[in-house]
């Protein structure tokens, strides 16, 4: 542990510097207005202190120009704050770079379980390379958790029943705190760990070292066959369900006439609740039964990784 009292957090992602700049702007505005109020209060309170018990100050009703001034000027300032904050928020939450490397995260009371696409697993540790965009696909097995890396100025709640995705790009190697920021029960304050940012070469060595085991895709394929998904969802499209080759990330036409993108949330929903979105050309109600209770969040993520690989193969052919 470093000595001394830290007063400002380390900045180790592309977003951190931008958030800090906005923060300094906010601090400047806050200090200005706080000083304005404190100085006026002090000056008025001293200058106009009661000098005799019979003082009768003038009756001043107010001043409309002043009211307008101190409404409009703050309004302008807060709108700047809003626009600036919204721009960064949008970049942070919505604009995931296409080439981001995916890492899967599952929160459960009270640990973070992390799996890289090649199958490497870690608990309460996340290793990432410096200078590369990383996309986290996160799910919760039980209650709401929140994935928080202060040095990246990044946080996202992991709500059970849905996926949360975020991305970041680390700019500095080192070890940074990883916290659960949403109260999740007894061990909440122990649900923390470390993010280790490494040089790319070092990271590759780490990734392939130690016990790696099955890759996410392979595990997903195994589950796909084990649960019997492959009996209906045949690759050649002759099964009772639609072929899932090349489906991931593409638009899917539904029976209802809508079109949705086959993303992680769509796959998860279709596994747990097959009737929610039925593909055009297939019967409603569907003959597929729900897999609720038969598959864990981690298992679903593995199947998703497998389906993603089916799309990549198709693209490369």
């Amino acid at each position: 542990m470093e000595q001394g009292v830290p007063l400002f957090p380390e900045a180790a992602s592309t977003m951190a510097g931008k958030v800090d700049a906005l923060y300094f702007f906010l601090v400047a505005v806050a200090v200005f207005f706080a000083a304005l109020i404190f100085i006026s209060l002090t000056v008025f309170a001293l200058k106009y202190r009661r000098r005799s018990e019979t003082d009768v100050p003038p009756s001043i009703h107010g001043s409309t120009p002043l009211e307008i001034a101190w409404s409009v000027i703050p309004l302008g300032l807060v709108m700047i704050m809003f626009a600036w904050g919204a721009k960064l928020y949008f970049d942070e939450y919505n604009e995931v770079p296409a080439d981001a490397e995916e890492v899967y995260v599952v929160g459960k009371q009270w640990m973070w379980h992390i799996q890289h696409t090649n199958g490497k697993r870690e608990i309460n540790e996340l290793h990432v390379p410096v200078g590369r965009p990383i996309k986290l696909i996160m799910a919760s097995e039980d209650v709401i958790h929140s994935f928080y890396i202060p040095a990246f100025r990044l946080k996202k709640d992991v709500v059970p029943g849905r996926y949360a995705t975020i991305w970041f790009q680390a700019t500095k190697t080192g070890r940074y705190h990883l916290f659960c920021a949403e109260y999740c029960g007894t061990g909440h304050s122990k649900m923390k760990g470390w993010v280790t940012v490494m040089e790319p070469a070092e990271y590759q060595a780490w990734l392939s070292g130690g016990v790696v085991g099955e890759s996410m895709e392979a595990a997903g394929e195994r589950l796909f066959n084990q649960l019997g998904c492959n009996t209906c969802h045949r690759a050649d499209g002759t099964g009772r369900g639609p072929s899932l080759v090349g489906v991931f990330g593409k638009p899917v036409r539904l029976l209802s006439g809508e079109t949705v993108i086959a993303d992680e949330a769509y796959i998860r929903e279709s596994i747990l609740n097959p009737n929610a979105k039925i593909v055009a050309g297939y019967p409603s109600p569907t003959i597929m039964s729900t897999y609720q209770g038969q598959i864990s969040e981690r298992g679903i993520l593995q199947i998703i990784a497998y389906l993603k690989s089916l799309s990549k193969e198709e693209r490369s052919q």
Partner: protein, 220 residues
């Protein structure tokens, strides 16, 4: 306690002020009630848009004929309540008591039918948490039983909360009957009857929304 036997409470200057105050008070309370049920309706709207089929299927498991009978009973009770208020305005003590009793009777009939409906659901194993077994066959849509469970949760939460309001309403009417019996009301002073009437109509209106939203959504 120096409550005089006059009907004018000490804090008011005259009966008109007292009447206006109690009516405004009841309206403010009804606004509160609107927001109370509003929370339930919001939840209902969210899930119905998420699970449209399950909600349609769920409503087929309710007997719309019973719901319709109950709607008719409640509308009649609103009529008798309005007649009770009118009797109070005209200072007709006996017809006031009569209409109040009739309103209570209709309210009790509503609650009795509700009890019958709930017990029927118990035998069908369709009460979430207490006795729930996913139905063997669905009536029209094959849906995730978990979603049917959500529909039934809302059905019981909403109708249960409504029934609770009915029970409170019937109890309030019972108190009014006693007061009317003792001759507390006159054409000068009848605002307890008036505000109880507002409450009763409100509870009635809530049911007018609940009935189509729960029983009729798949029958259009």
């Amino acid at each position: 306690m120096s409550e005089t036997h006059s009907v004018l409470a000490h804090q008011f200057d005259d009966l008109e002020q007292q009447f206006e105050a109690s009516t405004l008070g009841m309206w403010a309370f009804l606004i509160t009630e609107v927001l109370f049920f509003g929370g339930l309706f919001t939840g209902y709207a969210v899930y119905r848009s998420q699970y449209p089929l399950a909600f349609a299927e769920g409503s087929l498991h309710l007997d719309y004929r019973i719901g319709a009978i109950n709607t008719a009973v409640l509308i009649c009770s609103s009529l008798t309540m309005a007649l009770a208020v009118r009797s109070a305005q005209l200072g007709r003590r006996r017809s006031l008591i009569g209409f109040l009793l009739l309103t209570m009777l209709l309210g009790s009939v509503f609650l009795g039918i509700k009890v019958f409906e709930y017990s029927h659901k118990y035998h069908e194993h369709l009460i979430p948490g207490i006795n729930f077994v996913p139905p063997h066959e669905f009536i029209r849509f094959h849906v995730d039983p978990q979603q049917l469970y959500v529909f039934l949760s809302f059905y019981f939460a909403m109708t249960g909360m409504h029934a609770l309001h009915m029970i409170i309403g019937v109890s309030v009417l019972a108190v009014l009957v006693v007061l009317a019996w003792r001759g507390r009301f006159s054409s000068e002073y009848y605002n307890p009857v008036e505000v109880a009437g507002l409450y009763w109509h409100f509870v009635d209106i809530v049911w007018i929304f609940l009935f189509p939203l729960l029983y009729l959504i798949s029958r259009s």
